[in-house]
């Protein structure tokens, strides 16, 4: 199995409005380090898993829709608890839309909120 990973980051504000989250229920923020890992069993004719420059462009494009934003104010997250595991799956979905039919394999999205905590979501994409 081959994989290629590209990374970036976003600065976001949000609140987790449920008392179970303790202080994280207050409006606060985080630098989220994003990693998108693409895996598939074979290389293409250029010896690549995916066009790494294209993968990076899509990562930055998705990042720009979140960067320097208060997630509580974005329609797409209305009524959602924007935990990092949920956000990992959201970003996975955004990759899916933009890569539709162009990458077949597994995509794993990882979000690191601090050196002490991170989350990921992995699922298949169809070529």
């Amino acid at each position: 199995m081959y994989s290629v990973t590209v990374s970036g980051h976003v600065f976001i504000a949000h609140s987790l409005k449920n008392e179970a989250f303790g202080p994280a229920a207050r409006l606060h923020g985080a630098t989220l380090l994003l990693e998108a890992e693409f895996s598939r069993p074979e290389l293409d004719e250029r010896n690549t898993v995916i066009d790494i420059a294209e993968a990076g462009r899509i990562l930055r494009e998705i990042a720009q829709t979140l960067d320097y934003r208060n997630l509580d104010e974005l329609d797409v997250f209305k009524g959602k608890l924007t935990t990092i595991e949920y956000l990992a799956s959201y970003i996975h979905g955004e990759f899916g839309k933009r890569l539709a039919g162009r990458f077949g394999g597994t995509l794993k999205v990882t979000l690191r909120e601090s050196p002490q905590a991170w989350a990921s979501y992995a699922a298949s994409l169809r070529a």
Copy 2:
């Protein structure tokens, strides 16, 4: 598949009393960076894999039983070769005891002894 990881560290002394380990057979020590990665296929109703604050508390509780200790003197490791892969499985077992019946999924414990070497143990836990 979703995952969440929390991390910490412990300062331990130990010796690997078998000539195969060369200089590591002498009493020495290490800073072990601990990572506990919890994975399962679905999020719960709070959009989480596990209560990250609770996972962190358990990690610190387990860490405290080892931190600033000479493992050679702990009963639990009598006659054991405390390699980092063995210690990863030991810490996995400690999580299993403390989470019994409360987390169903895969737990992977990683121990980093230096930027050049690390080990892990992964196995299922039953809810």
Copy 3:
């Protein structure tokens, strides 16, 4: 010259309300990695620059006043542009209050907002 550094982190939201900051003028957030480096020319009778456990406790105490907060809503930052270089000097001041007369030397506070950008403030404290 000897130095000792302790580190931690806080999750904060804020906005830099001045058009010069572009998208950072919007409400967003960051994980700020905090480092406090204490320096002085000689060690004390215990071969330390400062009691490292005490330094860590003060760092966490200061961090708690900011962690999981929207800085825009704190009185202490009313009308201030809370850039990371400004926040570094603010945290330096908080250390100064708490260490008054107990540490003589230089304190350098560093705040890392991402792997690509960080800031610091260094100044003397009097024993």
Copy 4:
């Protein structure tokens, strides 16, 4: 499942002679951080996945065949596009030759070319 990882690095020059690679088609270079992760379901009688010192020696031996080299001039890469995913599989093959019959399990080789991009190749080796 248990795993042990050892790491190192090499300084190489190369060019990716295909217009699809944009500026990477020019002769340039990279520091490649190498990680070799060995996994298997059980520990041996010494509580190890593999002799970590031996794994490190083999990593350095393989690294030396590439370190401070222009890959474009090595016979083994003639006519090949030496992408990092391809190089990960090449290094995997070199481990396979040197470990033949001595390690049974999965080997995953990861190559990091920058903090923003890395690749890996994983496949089984037979004891």
Copy 5:
């Protein structure tokens, strides 16, 4: 004293044509992680040391003149031994040209060629 640092990286090939450099005399390459740290005693009216976005833009502009290049073929390095300490001072000079009269203070440029070795050059720039 206040400071702000921005970072980036370049992929370069080069050779150090002097037998004292051993294997580094051969054509090889490196990923150079670049850090530019700007320091001055006071903040400006926006609570900044320097416009961090502008500093990042200049860093990328300078990086682009070196990225994906064989330094041995660039006129500016003809007959020069392009050690990382020399390259740090070269990049410092490029910042000086682009910032002429716009930043007064100290600029320190750091180049990391691996996790095990890095170099820097620091000198004043006049506003």
Copy 6:
């Protein structure tokens, strides 16, 4: 001012036998990441601050006298509190002996015991 830094690590056991150190008074251990930063105002005729390969060799030579050791049993530390700031100055002294008359400038030795704590000692060496 130019600088070059080389790094390595050692695995040590020790105890800080003074009640002020709390749990660190017990026998425990640490992975100490070592950094040796050499600084001077000018480059030599090879555009270097110091022969980086030679600096690395000396670092490894010093590291070997401590690696996989219980510092409490070494004569050189008899009756000493081996804090990381003290050990930084000890390693500085070892460099001084080995470089006597061969490097003039400042040497700063940094020891990182965890991602949350590190120490350093800096002083001049005479050529």
